[in-house]
């Protein structure tokens, strides 16, 4: 019952946060002086045509009304205009891109697999490498293993992903000719090629992020290892492996999971930089294109979708917490 209450409360909190962010995003993007109707009214843009375009897209209403229409569209779908020129946007409608003549939801659906492939693969890799290196460094504290792991992680934290990515392309792609330098093959088309094209982005992203996790894990592990219950566990005669794995790691994972949720969430919302470096057409590339053409509905849609992913990831993190540390939900 307690757990159920906890989950419901968290869900409500998530919905509230999402609503707050959507109001903010909507207000910011529609109050700023860039008139979407003006941008897509074509030439010559007579006042009459501008008014028509405005009414067609629904921009003639006050922004609060537009926002409610937007929310309604997510639940029930929307129609723009009437008659032959009418445009249909089925639920869940996150807006309609009048530039690309496609519903935003559909565009996100097309691009999401690319971004998700990059993000999830990299995240699994960096979690394993980062936590592994951190634990190793903490257990072998003060040794050469520890020092080199920490020095490497400082280097990793300082290297921008695009720089490392470009150097990776230069070395492994062009010079050694080992891996493809860009492009994306859908998983459903050919799983081997899919993975093969993603090896470089995964490794680059994973190595750089692993640096952060290694430092975090090491610091936490050192703190945990000085706790009384670890001494008790050792005194009981448990094997070191079990002390570290069961008693140590479990407590180390709490802050690691927090950071992981945030990182994975924001990466899912658009691996903007990696997509540009490895020329992949994911959500990040979609956003950059939308920004280039000032496609306002698309910008708002992608931004909100990204925010949703982050918040959802946080929600999952909270659930994982209550599994790792039952005290949380009480």
């Amino acid at each position: 019952m307690r757990t159920f209450r906890y989950v419901v409360l968290r869900l409500l909190g998530m919905a509230g946060t999402l609503l707050a962010i959507s109001v903010l995003t909507y207000a910011v993007f529609y109050l700023l002086p860039a008139d979407p109707a003006q941008l897509s009214c074509g030439r010559p843009c007579t006042p009459q045509r501008l008014a028509e375009a405005s009414a067609f897209m629904g921009y003639d209403k006050p922004w609060t009304r537009q926002y409610l229409d937007f929310l309604g569209g997510i639940v029930a779908g929307r129609h723009f205009g009437s008659g032959l020129a009418a445009v249909d946007c089925a639920a869940p409608c996150f807006g309609y891109s009048f530039r690309l003549n496609e519903p935003v939801t559909q565009l996100i659906e097309q691009r999401a697999p690319v971004t998700f492939s990059i993000a999830i693969g990299a995240a699994v890799l960096w979690l394993v490498i980062g936590v592994g290196a951190g634990v190793l460094a903490a257990v072998r504290r003060g040794t050469a293993v520890d020092r080199s792991a920490m020095l490497l992680s400082t280097v990793g934290v300082s290297a921008p992903s695009y720089l490392a990515g470009l150097l990776g392309i230069l070395l492994f792609g062009f010079t050694l000719n080992m891996v493809p330098v860009g492009g994306y093959v859908p998983l459903t088309e050919n799983p081997v090629y899919w993975a093969w094209h993603l090896v470089l982005p995964w490794s680059v992203l994973a190595l750089l992020s692993a640096a952060v996790y290694a430092r975090l894990t090491r610091g936490q592990m050192l703190e945990v290892l000085s706790e009384d219950y670890i001494r008790t566990a050792r005194a009981k005669g448990l094997r070191e492996r079990r002390v570290i794995g069961r008693h140590g790691l479990r407590n180390v994972l709490i802050p690691v999971v927090t950071v992981f949720g945030l990182d994975l969430g924001s990466l899912l919302g658009g691996a903007v930089i990696s997509e540009k470096v490895f020329s992949m057409q994911g959500l990040g590339a979609l956003l950059l294109d939308a920004v280039g053409t000032v496609d306002l509905p698309l910008i708002v849609g992608v931004t909100l979708f990204a925010a949703f992913l982050v918040i959802f990831a946080n929600f999952l993190v909270d659930l994982v917490y209550s599994v790792i540390d039952p005290r949380v939900s009480r």
Partner: protein
């Protein structure tokens, strides 16, 4: 990432045997190396016009004689030589040394300004939230949570598109990355303020009838100063990186103002034919960031009495 640091009270409690933080810092070879490199970069940023004048080129003038008809730089390593120390930019033939040196200016200006903004807001918000508590604290903590989970890169990119063209882009970059950077500082400062609240010297000052202004200025701030210094130092490389990332994506500092990130972005198209065009600005960005991180780590260890025994 939240690293909490409990400062020693400024007035006493430090054992006499403990060495001065500065001496501890100077004993850390990596931190000293980082500090020296940071100072070097700072000198370069300040003296950029002088340095590029010494080299004989400014970062704006085109030199089409230095590039081939296809736009590739002529000569070894992207045109490296006595004339152009770091070679030239493909297509335009602008001097890469001048671009990198002036780029340091842009990076440091944006990095420092955005950090100052973040730290100012973060400290103000954190200290007041921790001190006053109650509903104000709950609201602030909620806002911090939301901002933490915000896909700020996506948002900032989108914002760049719709900002009025007249608004100076460099200022916009400083404002947006500064305004998204404060939550982590606010969270740490809030936590420490809460911890300070229970310390005897604060309780004593309160009992003596000290008002909030005196408490915040005379009791809390001095004890938070080491945390603020450490956090500011550790925030700068993040801000420099954020500016470079935005410029890399083409939504940061606009041309012709030299920016490392934008040059690295331009280098994508040339990475196969002219790798040196990537290497120079890339190395500058990487070394500057690394130096700040090393200095920040060293400062943290030197100012934080807790990590002393546990590290090494």
């Amino acid at each position: 990432m939240v690293v909490d640091i409990l400062p020693a009270p400024a007035d006493s409690a430090m054992p006499r045997t403990a060495r001065h933080p500065l001496r501890r810092l100077l004993a850390d070879r990596w931190a000293v190396a980082g500090g020296v490199v940071v100072l070097l970069f700072l000198a370069v940023a300040v003296a950029a016009p002088l340095l590029s004048a010494l080299a004989g080129h400014d970062p704006y003038t085109y030199d089409l004689s230095a590039v081939s008809d296809a736009g590739a730089p002529l000569g070894f390593g992207g045109g490296i030589g006595a004339e152009h120390w770091f070679g030239v930019e493909p297509m335009t033939g602008r001097d890469l040394f001048a671009i990198v040196v002036h780029g340091a200016r842009t990076s440091f200006l944006v990095g420092f300004a955005a950090t100052a903004l973040s730290v100012l807001i973060g400290v103000l918000v954190g200290i007041t939230a921790g001190y006053f508590g109650g509903w104000y604290d709950r609201v602030v903590s909620r806002i911090v949570d939301v901002l933490f989970g915000f896909p700020w890169l996506v948002f900032v990119i989108a914002l760049g598109a719709i900002a009025p063209a007249r608004f100076p882009k460099q200022l916009l970059v400083i404002l947006v990355i500064g305004l998204f950077g404060w939550p982590s500082i606010a969270r740490v400062i809030r936590g420490q303020t809460l911890a300070l609240k229970r310390r005897t010297f604060v309780v004593a000052a309160t009992a003596l009838g000290a008002g909030p202004v005196h408490l915040l200025r005379r009791q809390y701030l001095p004890n938070l100063s080491s945390t603020i210094i450490v956090y500011a130092t550790m925030t700068i490389p993040g801000m420099i990186g954020a500016e470079a990332a935005l410029s890399f994506l083409g939504v940061g500092v606009p041309p012709p103002t030299p920016a490392w990130g934008r040059t690295i972005g331009d280098a994508i198209a040339w990475v196969q034919t002219d790798p040196m065009f990537l290497v120079f600005p890339g190395a500058a960005l990487f070394v500057a960031t690394l130096a700040f991180n090393l200095l920040g780590d060293g400062l943290r260890d030197a100012l934080d009495p807790r990590t002393r025994g546990t590290r090494r």
